[in-house]
Amino acid sequence: MRYLPLTEADRADMLARIGAPSVDALFVDVPETARLAGPVEGLPGHAGELAVERHMTRLAARNVNAGSVPFFLGAGAYRHHIPASVDHLIQRGEYLTAYTPYQPEIAQGTLQMLFEFQTQVARLLGCDVANASMYDGSTACWEAIAMAARITKRKKAILSSGLHPHYVSTVQTMARFTGDAIVYTAPELAAEPDTAALIGRIDADTSCVVVQYPDILGRIGDLSALADAVHAAGALLVAVVTEPVALGAIRSPGAMGADIVVGEGQSLGVGLQFGGPYLGLFATRDKYVRQMPGRLVGETLDAAGRRGFVLTLSTREQHIRREKATSNICTNSGLCALAFSIHMTLLGEKGLRALAAENHRLACRTADRLAKVPGVKLVNTAFFNEFALEIAGDARAVVRALAAKDVLAGVSLGRLYPDHSELAGGLLVAVTETVSEEDIEALAAGLEEALA
């Protein structure tokens, strides 16, 4: 077995040192009925690299990868071009095969990188501080609600209808067990976000209002008035960003008054990967830092007076506080944070703005082209790189029909909201810099044919 260095002679020498007659003698404390005599039955034996690669390649070949066809899916996961150096650098063994930086003297690479990541995320989201990452956007969203409940000592969260339905479902799952009240209704195919309705629902029991920006239909609304109304009620505004590239073009949630900003960082540096691993972003105001979940890296000095970085404020965390911790999170998304940070470093402010502008330009172009297709109506007045269409037909069936013709047309609202037939004509179309003119024409032609 190529991954196991011990030889039979080594094993014999080691048993002699231990004073055990056999390896099985080391398993003496396992109840006899639970000890297997040989390998688990009914499973194959070991395989060489070639055989395993062949098997995995066959499985991969049964998928249609996004880059091989015209591709317009978004809804919380976005296909952007990732510079080649990102994947090269994250595969350096010093990053890839390191553990959580518990021994800071020999983990300054990871710690400094995370400190830089925290700074980048805080600035991008318009907040004072950010943590070293969460699992993904949806779990970060729940953690933000839990944090708001700790701060306000209230247990009612109002979710915007524009919040990603998987995030809603994640929150509802958790709330069912914690007893938090969650107020939510599904969206309508309307041109504007539901800000006014949200303001109307705020009451004295409200811990937070959660609003996605841009929202699930790609709509963009000013959060300032909502922030004022939330704060007047003594509650917190939680903003959720599932497409951080948008913040190269539009104002940050923090600048508009959000108290906690969480997000899905996948779109920078982290590929689609069928949904994971992704990268939860979590940022807030300085005054709430001790209520934050997850790991934090801070700057300090070493015994020789040199700048260095350590994991800090860990008295919030499970390994110190146990049942009184702010969260049970331990392992987070360190390597995805590295990928995000490298991609952000390559872009810088100038590149992020240019990338955002290119996404928006192509999205506008696509929206205009598709709106000319008979039976297609553009829902949004404002959007960044994703918008909703209302088509004269069942969008889910249309998506399937186009997939059969090698066009991945977008995400149907029927897939996301199967219980809401009134949304069945809704189709989300995301347009990033990876989309070509030919792709746009292929989608338009496909829709024309499907709706004819």
Binding site: V52, A77, L96, T178, F274, G275, L335
Partner: protein, 517 residues
């Protein structure tokens, strides 16, 4: 010297530039290179990606919300970027550099085949919401990996979506809560041994349970009598780590499970230590109802400096119907992904909802499956045997110079536990750990489990050669002897690493969590 926030030391006078620490002008020491922060290197105008220049006159549909403030995000060109992150990387220890014997963390070799297959475009470049006809191979990976996990544990169901160990714990505990609610049996308490990982009580509390601690016996195991005495109608579950954090197998595990079940409660097993028994012992045979499996431990997906992890949860027949959405089912016409609709028809009418967006850590599934297929059932058994053999070799090669609090409790499993008992006054576990750094090793887990004063938990894994084990043992023996003899130089270690000991009190007292410029 004050905290350097001014870049490449331009503001320092000529006399300040020669530091007593290094004796060099730059602060570098040969190949040990200092690296400024990105914010001290980059500018707002530098960019390492070529993109179309935006047309400032272009109309937009941003709803009047155009960004009107600076982002203050500096950029670097590609060569500067590659150099920045490469130079930083060299300040890290990693499993690729040497033994990483962190107890409870299972730092094993990360095969590069797994990296290669995870990057096949057919896996890496798939959107989670593509029509299922276009992702049959991906669903096949989930189904095949899930099947292996079920067979290796002899359990009835598996939830693939949890994103890490602690998330898997939460999934298992929520399954238990859902199962209890379904029979109208509200229970409030979860029992957790005092040697448990911190995530266990944190998870139970997060799921709105009251946590009560169960003591251990002097030989390092759960006090079965105390546990039995506490069982009752208010106890929902017991969370047990087996093998436990003292490195021992819970001999009474089957009897504990039987007693817990007789009291109407469930057994949650923390699977962090599964590497000791994988392919050798099946938790389902010990009466476990739910156990998370850290794919980033036992099945070698890379830790990546703190994640991503992946924590699928295997479930007993009693709990399997409550597993969260989504899940994969196979029919004659291929694989299906059961999401928000059709759950009831697919046998998931009691599924408790989503744990997260999308379907789990696919990038980890491909790596773990490649690892499992490479080993096969025979290789995985050998993994457990070599891991346990290597840990016992550590234990018996060091127990004459280091206190082994449970050295008389039988063989250890995949990790060997020592303590700082017997060290001279003023020296403790941290000094041994830091001295190991100067010897070129990553230290063991320090001060955990909490039930042992000055604990040192050593987990060599199956991936170390005997020569490496002997070298590590030789260094640790030498350091242990110096600690017993009172060599005060140990308290100053490390002196040869990129940094000396860091002031954690300063970091916590005046948190500087972002660069202020």
């Amino acid at each position: 010297m004050s905290i350097n926030s001014s870049g490449w030391r331009p503001s320092l006078g000529a006399n300040d530039m020669v530091q007593d620490v290094t004796g060099t002008v730059t602060g570098n020491r040969g190949l040990l290179l200092e690296e400024p922060l990105l914010f001290e290197l980059g500018t707002a105008e530098t960019c390492g990606v070529d993109l179309p220049v935006p047309d400032p006159a272009a109309a937009n549909r941003l709803g009047g919300l155009e960004r009107d403030d600076a982002l203050a995000l500096p950029g670097l060109s590609e060569p500067e970027t590659v150099r920045h992150y490469t130079r930083l990387s060299r300040q890290n220890y990693a499993i690729d550099l040497g033994i990483f014997p962190l107890g409870s963390c299972t730092m094993k070799h990360n095969p590069r085949l797994n990296e290669k297959v995870a990057r096949l475009p057919g896996f890496a470049d798939l959107h989670p919401l593509q029509p299922i006809t276009t992702v049959q191979g991906a669903l096949g990976v989930m189904a095949e990996l899930g099947e292996w996990l079920l067979r290796l544990t002899n359990m009835a169901g598996v939830a693939m979506s949890p994103k890490a160990g602690a998330h898997g714990e939460l999934c298992g505990i929520l399954c238990i809560r859902a199962a209890l609610e379904a029979r109208g049996d509200a229970r409030e308490v979860i029992l957790v041994p005092d040697s448990a990982h911190g995530t266990n009580p944190a998870t139970a509390a997060f799921a709105n349970y009251r946590v009560e601690s169960i003591p251990g016996t002097p030989d390092g195991r759960v006090d079965f009598e105390a546990l039995k005495a506490r069982l009752g109608p208010d106890v929902a579950a017991v969370m047990i780590t087996n093998p436990n954090t003292c490195g021992l197998f819970e001999r009474d595990m089957k009897a504990i499970s039987d007693a817990v079940h007789a009291a109407g409660a469930f057994v949650y097993c923390d699977g962090a230590n599964f590497n000791a028994i994988v392919g050798k012992v099946r938790p389902g045979d010990l009466g476990v109802d739910a156990m998370h499996i850290n794919l980033h431990k036992t099945f070698s997906t890379p830790h990546g400096g703190g994640g991503p992890g992946s924590g699928p949860v295997v479930l007993s027949e009693a709990l399997a119907p409550f597993a969260p959405l989504p899940f994969v089912v196979q029919t004659a016409d291929g694989y299906h992904l059961v999401e928000e609709e059709g759950a009831a028809e697919a046998g998931g009418e009691q599924a408790f909802g989503r744990m997260s967006a999308f379907h789990g850590q696919m990038g980890m599934f491909t790596r773990a499956l490649a690892y499992i297929l490479s080993h096969g059932a025979d290789g995985l058994k050998q993994v457990a045997e070599d891991a346990v053999l290597s840990a016992n070799y550590m234990l018996r090669s060091l127990d004459d110079v280091l206190d082994a609090p449970f050295g008389a409790s039988g063989p250890c499993m995949h990790e060997a536990l020592f303590s700082d008992k017997g060290f001279a006054d003023g020296l403790s576990t941290i000094d041994v750990a830091k001295a190991l750094i100067d010897e070129g090793f990553h230290p063991m887990t320090m001060y955990f489990p909490l039930v042992v004063h000055g604990a040192m938990l050593v987990e060599p894994t199956e991936c170390e050669s005997k020569a490496t084990l002997d070298q590590f043992i030789g260094a640790l023996r030498n350091i242990a002897e110096r600690a017993r003899a009172g060599d005060s130089a140990l308290a100053q270690t490390p002196t040869l690493a990129p940094r000396r000991r860091l002031d954690e009190t300063l970091a916590a007292r005046k948190p500087r969590l972002v660069w202020q410029g």
